[in-house]
Amino acid sequence: MPDNNGNPIAIHELALAYGNHRVLDGLSLTVPASSITALLGGNGAGKSTTLSALLGFVRADAGQIAVCGIDPGTDADAARRRIAYLPENVALYEHLSAVENADYLLALADQRQDRGTITAALAAAGLQNRAWDQRLGGFSKGMRQKVAIAVALLREVPVLLLDEPTSGLDPRATADFNALLLKVRDRGTAVLMVTHDLLSAADVADRIAFLEQGRIVEDVTATGSERFDIRALHARFQVGVGTRAA
């Protein structure tokens, strides 16, 4: 079993290639409990592949990866029981209501809850009660995300993986989402979000890691009331994206 030193997410010298194309090249990253780590990088930097490896969708060629001490490459089911995952576009079932969607997803996760618990979680996620029994057909991305976050809250898993969670959200919805994320973190969850949205990441993350060509090239931790030097981060981000583009 991989050594995770108590960190819900522990990745060490991970290497992975699709054919001749090396996507992850010695990636090392840990995400402790009760923390939010934002993984930033340009297209093709390896962000989504990192999430895929954590979810057990792809197997690493070398290195170690662990979710709560479990290698998702060898026991994906056990790892997934400890993970809540929100894809970039949270697409739920439009012909089910918010409560029914949550009920169904929880059943799939083998963590059934009663209606009262589900509606309490939807409320905690900021979904107005008149929307609880409405079908999702007319829901905005932000509202769908709230349903998905409510499911994550109800599952009480130690790890939350987010793929571009704020893309397409308006500033108000982004602020709401970030507030929600902090709630999740404060319940002890290790949150790993991959994103292009530097400002949102700086707003909510405890740590920002820059991923380039499959490895972490810089790792910045929030300090003081200002948390991050946005200008410096922005400059760093531009360089990373530019390097990749070149």
């Binding site: 997934r80 949270v90 697409a91 079932y93 012909h95 009920d103 799939l108 993986l161």
Partner: protein
């Protein structure tokens, strides 16, 4: 709520799926109803035989009783034979819609009587009847395509697949569950109307079980094909187009090509050619000296050779003798024709191992006793009955015994077959 109930709710909320399942059930119900109506019509026709026969015989008996001539009795009397449908016949009408199931025969030459009715109605022979077998073989795969083509691709296109895959009981397990649920519902849409009709028709338990298993096996084949196509990770539209093309090839094109190939590999003439050859032989007999005909007949049938010699007047025993010689002259052709039919049937059955659509059709018509084999078995029963009929009349003709009204009551009666296909139908066999 169990996961299965969740899946059921999800499926029933999708309008297209619900419409497809309801339509499948309606089509199945319509098909079994149409089959039952047709079989009921055939049973009614068979049930009407005794009354019609009594009327016919009464009319002949009035005349015969005056002349006491067994030849006239044999010449003018038609004797009914019938092929009673098995209880399961409603599900697969097979050959019953294109070949005669009632044949009234005289003691004269048989082959012309059998093959007179051999020309199929081409309008019916080509597409077949709208029966349960048609719905299962031709239509059910299209509903499998409708319900399964986007099982994975639909989730991928909606953006849910990755999230579902990330759940402990999502991914492949989820898709397997959905497949099983759809198979079960499709199976129910086909099986429930069939089951109701089968119970109402008195089909035996083993036959019902066999048909239910055939339905399941055929659905499993098509869902396996859909799963195979899904593995290619194409779009839903591409999946649907590919599966529709498979349907076209497996259900229509290949069976048709194979049918043509079998017919070319096993060439057989028309039954009508046998009837024509027998008639020509019979007609030619009028130009042959009667003694020559009788000599030939007695050589083959020495049991009648001690019959009194022909006089100068017309005698029916000569007439019946050349009719029988006419039959015997085409015996080789009859054997070849039958053997050809059997070889074609065997080839089609072999094909059924490769082409499920052909296999299912063959299996259902075999279970329902409506296939070529059943048709030939009916012919065998007609031949056996006709032989008894000939012997009966010959006993009067060749011994110059008078034939009166009471003798009609001694004539052989077509025996009901001991048919166990699709359950007991002894009652149905009794007109």
């Amino acid at each position: 709520m169990t996961l299965w109930m969740h899946e059921l709710r999800l499926l029933l909320r999708a309008r297209l799926s619900v419409v497809a399942l309801i339509l499948m059930a309606i089509l199945t119900a319509a098909a079994v109803t149409a089959g039952m109506v047709e079989i009921s019509r055939q049973r009614t026709a068979i049930a009407a035989i005794p009354a019609a026969q009594s009327e016919d015989i009464a009319a002949v008996a009035d005349y015969v009783d005056r002349t006491k001539d067994a030849g006239s009795a044999g010449y003018y009397s038609f004797h009914p034979t019938w092929d009673a449908p098995s209880p399961l016949a409603f599900a697969a009408l097979g050959m019953r819609d294109v070949s005669p199931y009632i044949l009234r025969v005289r003691a004269l030459g048989l082959e012309a009587q059998i093959y007179d009715g051999d020309i199929f109605n081409p309008e019916l022979a080509l597409p077949g009847r709208f029966d349960f077998a048609f719905v299962l073989v031709f239509l059910a795969p299209l509903f499998v395509v409708a319900l399964f083509h986007d099982l994975t691709s639909g989730e991928r296109e909606a953006g849910r697949l990755r999230m579902l895959d990330a759940l402990p009981r999502g991914g492949a397990k989820l898709l397997r569950r959905r497949m099983l649920l759809r198979i079960a519902l499709l199976w129910a849409a086909l099986a429930v109307p069939f089951l109701v009709a089968a119970v109402a028709s008195g089909v035996g338990g083993a036959a019902i079980f066999a048909v239910l298993a055939v339905i399941l096996a055929y659905l499993l084949f098509w869902t396996a094909l859909a799963a195979l196509v899904a593995r290619l990770r194409w779009s839903s539209v591409a999946n649907a187009a590919t599966l529709a093309a498979c349907w076209l090839v497996l259900v229509l094109v290949l069976p048709t090509l194979a049918h043509v190939a079998i017919n070319r590999a096993v060439p057989i003439g028309q039954g009508a050619e046998i009837a024509l050859a027998q008639r020509e032989m019979v007609n030619r007999a009028w130009d042959i000296p009667r003694e020559t005909t009788m000599r030939r007949f007695y050589a083959g049938h020495p049991e009648w050779a001690d019959s009194a010699p022909l006089g100068s007047a017309f005698h029916y025993k000569w007439y019946f003798a050349f009719h029988q010689l006419g039959d015997e002259s085409v015996a080789t052709k009859v054997r070849a024709y039958r053997s050809g039919l059997e070889r074609r049937d065997a080839a089609a059955r072999m094909l059924g191992w490769v082409l499920p659509s052909v296999g299912v059709q063959a299996l259902l018509t075999r279970l329902a006793d409506t296939d070529v084999r059943a048709q030939l078995a009916y012919q065998d029963r007609v031949r056996a009955f006709h032989a008894r009929l000939r012997n009966f009349y010959y006993g009067y003709l060749f011994r110059d015994r008078p034939f009166g009204r009471v003798d009609f009551g001694r004539a052989p009666i077509f025996a009901a077959r001991m048919n166990t296909a699709g359950g007991s139908n002894e009652a149905a066999d009794r007109p």
